[in-house]
Every structure is written in structure tokens, then in C-alpha cells.
Symmetry: C2
Subunit: 210 residues, 2 copies
Amino acid sequence: MTEIKDTAIEPFLDQLASSAATPGGGSAAAILGGMGAALVSMVCNLTIGKKKYAEVEEDMKEILAKAEDLRHRMTAMIQDDVRAFDTVMGAYGMPKETDEEKAARGEAIQDALKMATDVPIRCCRLAREVIDLALMASEKGNVNVISDAGVGVLSAYAALRSAALNVYINAKMISDTSFVESKLNELEGLLAGAEATTEKAYDIVKGKVS
Amino acid sequence: MTEIKDTAIEPFLDQLASSAATPGGGSAAAILGGMGAALVSMVCNLTIGKKKYAEVEEDMKEILAKAEDLRHRMTAMIQDDVRAFDTVMGAYGMPKETDEEKAARGEAIQDALKMATDVPIRCCRLAREVIDLALMASEKGNVNVISDAGVGVLSAYAALRSAALNVYINAKMISDTSFVESKLNELEGLLAGAEATTEKAYDIVKGKVS
């Protein structure tokens, strides 16, 4: 089957809108994050090499390297959400006649739910990094393309909050409370300050374009 | 040249990240809006026909029809941003030796900037409609896929604010003050209440999944 990243945008949107269970919000979150990272890279690429921005050249090169790494990892995550969903569904579909079967199925479901929680938590981690890079790009980037840093930060922030929803859903069904607590704590840490950073970047951009 | 909607997601992200002037934030905004509309449709498609949701069946059908219309219009807008950019660049590239040439060029630039303002304003209009539909979907949709309504509203809200940045940029360079005033007034109206509606939808979804 064609991976989502190899699907053209319009047919991807058709699949997203359809009654198929995947692709859904998890893949959309990874794409949001990937677009955010790509827009940060765009601003860097259009700043590096310009005389007027020689002073920030090294900073922009560093931001670019990080943004490109994040973009590639986000792109890989588009499919991870589908795999996690399929694994959970596969576990639920296991036989449950005997006690042994029931126990094996229960364990498989729990393992799958943990995996399905780890995927969006990773998306949240990457999205938060994109938000922080987008703020730097909004401060230092070529003012002629600074709106792209603004779109980038909004997209990454939507990715973070979208992936958070997928963490909550799966965490609710996991019986290992210490696992759940540790993931929800990490999520809180990733969300903390994300809105303020996003709004700061947006305000900087809005101030420069208005 | 291949239209963006016909480009696969990974090479699209490569193009977005590159130093090419297009695709940029304008096309990204239309994709954000398209994903938002698609996710609203997904929730509708997974609610319609289910006995448990028979009571909201007609509402969901209505939301679906509107979301699909918005999705198709958003998809068409992905390329409009590139066309608008090319038109502005084309106008700036006109000869400016004689007074006649200068006058013709100035007029062409102003016309192009107006067109380049109308494209993101249209994107804002559609995105705002998606936000309102996503709220309804979050209230009435199948709770098993309600997180997709949450991702949808975040994506549409990012689309609205992203497109707004592109309105500001172009409006700044337009000399027809009554045109600018009317567009900025309309934009304020579209932004008014959008955050509150987005947060309301997000809270409903978070409450249902947590």
C-alpha cells in the first residue's frame, strides 16, 4: 500500500475525509508538524547567504539543520500513527475464548496502547522543538519572508495540541498508572509555555508585516 | 508544471522548505484549512448511519455537505496563492523607463496586490466556516472519533491566522485606502470569536477523550 507521504495532497485529503479509520488526526498532526518545520527551513534558506543578514548567518544555519532533522522525523511519523492504530486493532481482534487467550489479548492490547501513546508523545516533543525554532526564525529571519515563520509556528502549535489529544485518548485506557502518569507529566511539560512562545512569535511576525 | 494538490506530501514538504519563493505560507494555509475541513467530514462520515447517533443524523449530513464544499474550495486555493504571487512578481517586472511605463507598472502592481489580498481573505472566510462546523462536529459527532474534530478545529484556526498574515502583508502596500479598510474590517470580523470557538471545541473534545 502507498504510504501517506507518497500520496498526493488532494487524494490524501479525500482519504482523510472518508469513513476509513486511517489516516486520521494522528497523521494530520504529523503533517502539521512537518509543515511547521518546513516553513522554518524556508525562512532560513531565504536568509542564509544574504549580505543584509550576514550577522545571523551562523544562527540561521543551526536553526536550518535542526528544522530539517525535525521535518524528516515528522514525515516518518505520518505513517507511525497508522501503524499504531493497526496494532491496537490487531490486539483487540485476538481470540478471547479461553482464560489464556483472554490474558494474552489483554496484555497485547495494553502493549499496543502504550505504543499508540508513545507515537503522539514523540510528535509533541518534535512539535515543541519546531515552535521554539520558529520563534528564533521570526526574530532573526529575512523580513521579506517572515510571514512564513508565523505560519510555521501556528502549524507546529496545532500539531502539538493535536497530538496531545491522541495522548489523552490512549492514556485513558492504559492500566499501568505509573506509565500514564509519566507520559501525562511529560506532556504537561511540553505544553507549558508553548502557547506563550507561539503568541510571541506570531506577534513579532505580525508586527513586522503590518 | 504539476499543481501542488497533485504533488505527494513528502516532495511538497521538500519544496516548502526550499529557497523557492513558492509554495510558501499561503499555500500552507489553504492546506491547513483543507485538512480541517477533511477532518470534520471524517467525523460526519463515521457518525452518519450509526444507530446510536440517529438523532443527529440530519445535522451531521448537513455539516458534511458544507465541510466537503469547503474542502474542495480550500484545495483549489492551494494553487491560487502561487498564482497571486506570480502575478505580483510579474507586475514588478514590467518595464519602467518612460512615464507611461511607470504608470502602467504602478497600476498593475496595485491590481496584483489587491488580488493577492483577496486570495487570503477568501481563505480566512472559508477557515472561519470550518471552525464553526468543527464546533458542531465536536458537540454532536461520534465520540469514538471526536479527537479528529479537535485536530480539525486546530488546523482550521491555524489556517485562519496564517491567511490573516498574508492579508496584512499585501494590504500594507496597497494605496487604495478604502479597499484596505474594507478588507481589514472584514478580517477583524472573521477573527472575532474564532479563538473562543476554537477553544470551546477543543475543550469539548478534550473533556470527551480524557
